[in-house]
Structure formats: C-alpha cells, structure tokens
Symmetry: C2
Subunit: 333 residues, 2 copies
Amino acid sequence: MAPSRSYRDAGVDLDAAGAALSGIRDAVESTYTPRVIRGLGAFGGLFRAGDLPERPVLVATTDGVGTKTRVAAALGRWRGIGRDLVNHCVDDVLVQGAAPLFFLDYVASSRLEPAVVGELVGGMAAACREAGAALLGGETAEMPGVYAAGEVDVVGTLVGVVSEDRLLDGSRIREGDALLGLASGGLQTNGFSLARSVLEDRLEMTMPDGRTAGEHLLDEHRSFLPAVAPLLDAGLVRGAAHVTGGGLPGNLPRVLPGGLGARIDGSWPEPAIFGTIRDLGSVEETEMRTVFNLGVGFVLAIAPEDVERAVALSPEPLLHVGRVVRGDGVHWT
Amino acid sequence: MAPSRSYRDAGVDLDAAGAALSGIRDAVESTYTPRVIRGLGAFGGLFRAGDLPERPVLVATTDGVGTKTRVAAALGRWRGIGRDLVNHCVDDVLVQGAAPLFFLDYVASSRLEPAVVGELVGGMAAACREAGAALLGGETAEMPGVYAAGEVDVVGTLVGVVSEDRLLDGSRIREGDALLGLASGGLQTNGFSLARSVLEDRLEMTMPDGRTAGEHLLDEHRSFLPAVAPLLDAGLVRGAAHVTGGGLPGNLPRVLPGGLGARIDGSWPEPAIFGTIRDLGSVEETEMRTVFNLGVGFVLAIAPEDVERAVALSPEPLLHVGRVVRGDGVHWT
C-alpha cells in the first residue's frame, strides 16, 4: 500500500478489490520522484524539501472538478476525471509561476467501486507523472446518505514551489501588455451546471466530429505547464490567469493590478461544444462569457517588446486575446 | 477575500452571505503566520519556506471526518467539525514527528449555506491557530445531485515539516518499549457508521452527564500536538500511532517494525459513549476494539528507561496501554 493512502476506512472489499488496488499501488509509485521517502509514512506522505530553489515559496491549492463528475458517472468514464483534477491544480499553481512538487487526492462516494477508484487514481498518476508531481497520498471515503447513489466527488491538493524572485503576482503587469492565450480543450472543469442543464438529456447526441456531446463535455482539462514553462524560464511572463469558472471577466481581474483592465479584441477557434450549448440553450453571449472559457484556457500577460520572442519560444500557438488597458474589468471591442 | 479561497463557483449569494463571508475572511487571516505572503496568490496560497529546519521533510495528509458530518447536520452544529478536521490532520502528521505549517480545506454540499461554511471555517481557523498552521486556502463547491440534500462533506489537507533526523518512522521501536496513551475525547472522527447505526434515532437521549448522545458523538477530535510536542522536543518518542479507524489493532501495526507486535495490558477510563454503543447495539468486544479508539486517541512508544522522564515532562497523564513484544499483531492479555 502506498504511503498514507488509506482504504481501510473505506469499506472496500479488499479481496475483490485486490487487482484494482495493486494497480493503484503501481500507478501511485510510478509518480515517485527521488524526493519521496518510500515505504514509510503510514499516516502522512513524506517529501524531502532540502533542495528547493533559493528563497522558496510553496504554492498550494485545493480543488475539485465540480459536476463534471456527474457526466463521468453517466458515461462510466473516470480516468479523465483523475487527469482533470491534477491538471486543474497544476494550472492553478502555474498562475503564480510555480512548478508542481506533490499532489494528494480524496475520493468519496456513497459506495466506492474499486474499478472507479482505480481509473481515477490511474488518471491522476498519469497526469502527476507528466507534471513531475509525486502522488504523495490519498484518502477514500464511503459516506452513504451524504452522497447520492452512484455519485462521486474527487478533491485534489497540489503543492508547488517557485523562487520568490520569480513569483508571479500580477504586480509586473503594465498598461499595453499583450494578453496571449492558450487553447482550452473544451469546458475544462467549469460551467457544468449550465452545460448539464442544456445537455443532460442529450449526452448521446452526435456532434459534427462524430463524437457524442457527452464525450465533448469530458474533454480533458489541459495542463498548460509544458506550454508555459519555456516562457517562464525565459522570464517573459509578467502575469498569468487560469480561465476557470467566471471566464475571462471573472479571472483576468484576479491578477490585474489596480487601475488596469483588459480589452478583448482577438478571435480564436471556439471548441464546438460551446456553440452547441449556446444554440440549444439559447444562452446569451454575456452569460456564455462569464461561465465558460470559450476556447481560451490560460492567459499570459507579456510585454509588447517580448511578444515576438514568446511566440518563437512557445511550443504551441499563442492566441491573441487582447491587451491590458487603463481602467478596470474586462471589455470586448 | 482570502488568497485562493474561491466562493465564486459556489453559487453562494454573496450579498446575503456578506456577513458570514466577512467573518470567514477575518477567521482565515487570523491564522496567518509571518511565512504567509498576504494579499497575493489569487489562484494558490503562498507560503515562504526559506527557513525550514535542517534537512526538511514535508509531511502531508488529506482526510475527511467521515459520517460525523451526518450527526452535525442532524444537530445543526458545524463549528466542531471544522476543529475535528484540522485536529485529525494535525495528529496524522504528528505521528511522523512533524509540526504543522499550513492547511487547506474543501467544503461541498448540494447547496451551501453561508452560515454553515462560516461555522466550519471558523472552527478550522481556531484549530489552525492553536496548531500554528496557516489556513492557506480553501474551496467550496455546490454539487446538487452529487450530495444528498442538507448533507455536507469536508476535506482537509495539512502540510507539516520535520527534520529528517527527527523523523519518526517506527524503525526505532524496540521490543519492550512501553506503549503510553493519550486520552481521546470520544469517538474522535472514526467509527461513525457503527455508532450511527446504533444511535441515529437516539441522538436526543440523555446520557448520565446530562448531555445528549448526539453531543457526545460530536465530542471533539483532540489535537495531541500540545501533549506530544514536549516529549518530541526531548527526543523521548521512538514511534507514535494515531488511533483512527481500525482502533489499536488497525493502527499500531502501521508503525511497528516487522517482527514486533503489541500486548495490551493496561486499563484506562473509557468515555461513556462507548459503553452506550456497546450495550444498546449488543456489539461484541472484538468489534468494539477494531472500530473505536475506546478512549486512547494517540499512542507513544517510549523506551522503558525513559518512561519516568516522559511522565514528568508530559502536560497530561500518560495512560499505560501496553508493551511492544516479539511477534505480530495486537493482543489483549
């Protein structure tokens, strides 16, 4: 059993779950970096922190994936939810310029199915490996009466690190900075209440690309770490925002200094699922913009003179989203 | 709004919730240590880690409080649940000899009531202050359909630190060591499935001390940090176990080296609630022992020659629980 991952309280039938649990152990251990102290730490995961960068700042976030779990339950697909959870947290600490160190998870349901837990943790472990994060611990809980039958909640906590002199806090953002975006893979993990209110009974509907609406809704929450890391390393990023619930209007102001706002004057490809929701639900554009990312999952503020270098360094296209302007709030032109 | 505590996705009515949220902000900020970087970190909580002990090992744990939440919901008392959650995590990292650094929480329900969140976070903040932990971040989620009406789940993650040469991993435990216990305050946060199956319809029943059975069930999960810290500082602790689900038989073996077991030959005061559950539920003693702590919430392995010093140093009575013996498992004499 991996350090500090406790199935004992979960009421899971350990014999029936043997294969799944063995797979979980392998998956978890595949994420271990040399900093993890193995085989110990029955009550807590152990992580050596003696070689952190100069003036280290730990950046920590806890999050879930909202009611995306209900779509996963309806489709019986859980692996992606594990990836979503890790990537969401990776992107949250990336906003501050931090690189992941370790991750812990919590999986709860009215009655846990080992196969579901196995898929979830397998997905988390894969995303942790890709992010260089150790899956340091986890907890499972069966809470009949608290959770509705068949429903699952997942919660993740990620701790990352950044040197204090490289910490992004938005204070370096200036009027005239370019706002460059990275493409989202779809809804990511936000806006599922609205999306489900429109599509809940149409999950099997075929979309133009031949996949179902349900499959589109489960499209992965991307990790923006591989795309952003080269730009961070080059010192080109003045500020960043993760476009979660609230869309651009809800998230850009979280990192803009006082007296500055954003003008959105770009256009970019919009994943098809958003048009489907807009049309079938007759959702006003204002609401669409404040609920969904509409195709931009992460935004970087970059000095005008650095844009060319950033575009050259970026491993993927940088979308022109807009510009930092005097004022406040986020406005479309 | 405190760093990285997001109510935006929660659907909470911010106007109606104004007073509660303002109270939450004050409570959260009351936990800040000088290591917390304030006012920044919209997406992640920021914690300076430049002055950790030599050869630092971070010890991390994620946990919930199980279906103790259902008793809290029935009685409408949430503050203690917040304290339980933090203290449970504090005790989990204490097992490895670690002192708390920071804590993050997650609170989810079908529909969040600001007053409930306020009570929960208020309780967490108080327990964090007592433990010296910063309440660095949190997330709330409303997930109708996932959670049953009126039910709440809470999840906490604590990160602590210990110098690697003071890390407790059980390897220093020897045959003949004394197992000394610290009194639990009751069920702590484990065994609630069984307890509720016996007492769910009798929560209003008056117990001999005049308090109700429900109140007894909600008795606080103690933090053992103040009691154990002086013994850790004096280097007297060879190993430790937090007596959670599984009782002594489930938790002592988690820290005992191979080839060693425990003989339980002590006796100690048992909180009244256990006798009530045993009698009303006709629960066999074997089951009682493997589900509940039965009055011992934390166990220390101490060399025989150090027992006298430990008893003198301890700010509270150390219960004689038993002894480390050759063999395996946990046996009562």
